[in-house]
């Protein structure tokens, strides 16, 4: 369970969200909405641990026990980047990130994770630098990383960026599975149509731009 209480973030001229509270339990999909530049992405980076909040608390607990390092339970997908070593191939990328999580995966497991995203072709998956992928393929690989990782919390910033209809269907199915198996997710997305049946709550960040 992720409990965010009275979270505020401001830095000099950037006064973003203020006093934001939210509780995500197993199976929850929270949609974070608001106009451009209001701080949706900043909110997600604060949850992911990239920025420290000005005030407020983020607590993660599992069965009543507080988790010390919340990064071990969260997986973050940034908006305009995928976190891929561009000169390396798909298998090397997936293996690196899963090893950091302490997973020891054999080739079969990695191929299995690539398969639903249409990236499991021998010419695509190894000895082929990721920088030659198209925008959508890179996003698919980032989503494969996400679904490979066994953490309960997903923090998704515009996950649909560059995806085609087929990949979108795969993602929808994965997200549904993640939620029904006890995971939760926070989502920022310009297109809500694919998630209509999955969203359990919505939070709007209001603009407080004036001085």
């Amino acid at each position: 369970m992720l409990v965010i209480s009275n979270l505020s973030f401001k830095f000099r001229h950037r006064r973003l969200f203020d006093d934001l509270s939210l509780t995500a339990e197993r199976g929850d999909l929270w949609h974070i909405s608001g106009p451009n530049g209001v701080g949706k992405s900043t909110f997600l980076s604060v949850i992911a641990g990239l920025l420290n909040p000005t005030s407020g608390d983020i607590k993660l607990s599992s069965n009543g026990e507080t988790i010390e390092d919340r990064r071990a339970w969260l997986e973050y997908l940034p908006a305009e980047a995928n976190g891929l070593y561009l000169k390396m191939d798909a298998v090397q990328n997936l293996r690196f990130w899963s090893q950091l999580r302490g997973l020891k995966l054999d080739d079969e497991a990695i191929f299995g994770a690539l398969a639903p995203w249409g990236l499991n072709h021998p010419l695509l998956r190894s000895d082929f630098p990721v920088e030659k992928y198209s925008t959508g393929m890179k996003r698919r690989l980032a989503l494969a990383r996400l679904s490979l990782s066994p953490v309960p919390g997903w923090i998704l910033d515009e996950p649909l960026y560059g995806l085609d209809q087929q990949a979108l269907a795969v993602f929808r199915e994965r997200l549904g599975k993640h939620l029904s198996s006890g995971g939760f997710a926070l989502l920022v997305s310009h297109d809500l149509e694919p998630f209509r049946n999955l969203i359990t709550g919505s939070k709007e960040i209001v603009s407080r731009g004036s001085m």
């Binding site: 990239l50 990064r71 071990a72 969260l74 940034p78 070593y85 090397q92 999580r101 890179k138």
Partner: protein
């Protein structure tokens, strides 16, 4: 669900080495730069007087190495800067000391790959029929210097990670901060070649070099952790 700090260290070192080998141009350019510099120095200086050889060899070779290492340190985080890998690393449960030590190990490995050929080639260019300039001790001293330079190198790479004028900034900060290590290295190497390994001053200069290394590694690891918390 969490890897041990040591496992993470190994993973990070391996990934770092892999990133060098998939981009060979990155790997060889510092050493090529150093060798070119040495050849140009040799052209410019021409035939040298016997008494000057040691001084010139050490000054130009160690300075060339300092420049070449600066090149390779400043690009240390280049593969991680792409596609926000570095930010994603910070959202993973990675221990910051593992990350520092992994990058430091990488610097030592890649730095030696630049430093050792440079020292050998420099000695080769300046030797004469009756005087060999190669010495294991001098090589050891240069590795000790690398240990200090590398710690500062890793720290400065993170410091300048998000700065726009990285290429200009890096040397401006690197050269003044590393002066002590360079001075100690040149002094001890000179004493070693001129006065011989038994010189009493040599011992104290090498001690000083080790002291600087310790200070820089400690400072590096402390400040690096502080930096990673929010960058």
């Amino acid at each position: 669900m969490k890897a041990t700090a040591f496992d993470q260290y190994v993973t990070l070192v391996r990934q770092g080495l892999r990133a060098e080998f998939v981009d060979k141009e990155r790997l060889v350019s510092p050493v090529l730069f150093a060798l070119t510099m040495l050849i140009l120095f040799a052209f410019a200086l021409g035939d040298l007087d016997q008494s000057l050889r040691i001084k010139v060899y050490l000054a130009e070779t160690l300075l060339t190495a300092l420049f070449a290492l600066q090149l390779s340190f400043s690009r240390l985080f280049e593969p991680d800067r792409q596609d926000r890998v570095f930010d994603l690393l910070r959202t993973y449960p990675v221990s910051y000391s593992s990350l520092f030590l992994a990058k430091y190990t990488l610097v030592l490995i890649l730095g030696s790959a630049t430093l050792i050929p440079t020292m050998l080639f420099g000695a080769f260019l300046h030797q004469s029929a009756n005087q060999s300039l190669f010495s294991w001790l001098v090589l050891g001293i240069s590795i000790l210097a690398l240990a200090g330079l590398g710690a500062l190198g890793v720290l400065l790479s993170v410091l300048t990670l998000k700065a726009q004028a990285r290429q200009i900034l890096y040397p401006i900060l690197y050269f003044p901060l590393t002066t002590p290590v360079l001075l100690a290295a040149i002094q001890s190497a000179r004493l070693c070649l001129e006065a011989g390994v038994t010189s009493p001053e040599l011992k104290s200069w090498i001690g000083l070099l080790v002291g600087f290394d310790t200070i820089y590694i400690t400072l590096g690891i402390l400040l690096f952790t502080e930096l990673m918390d929010e960058s």
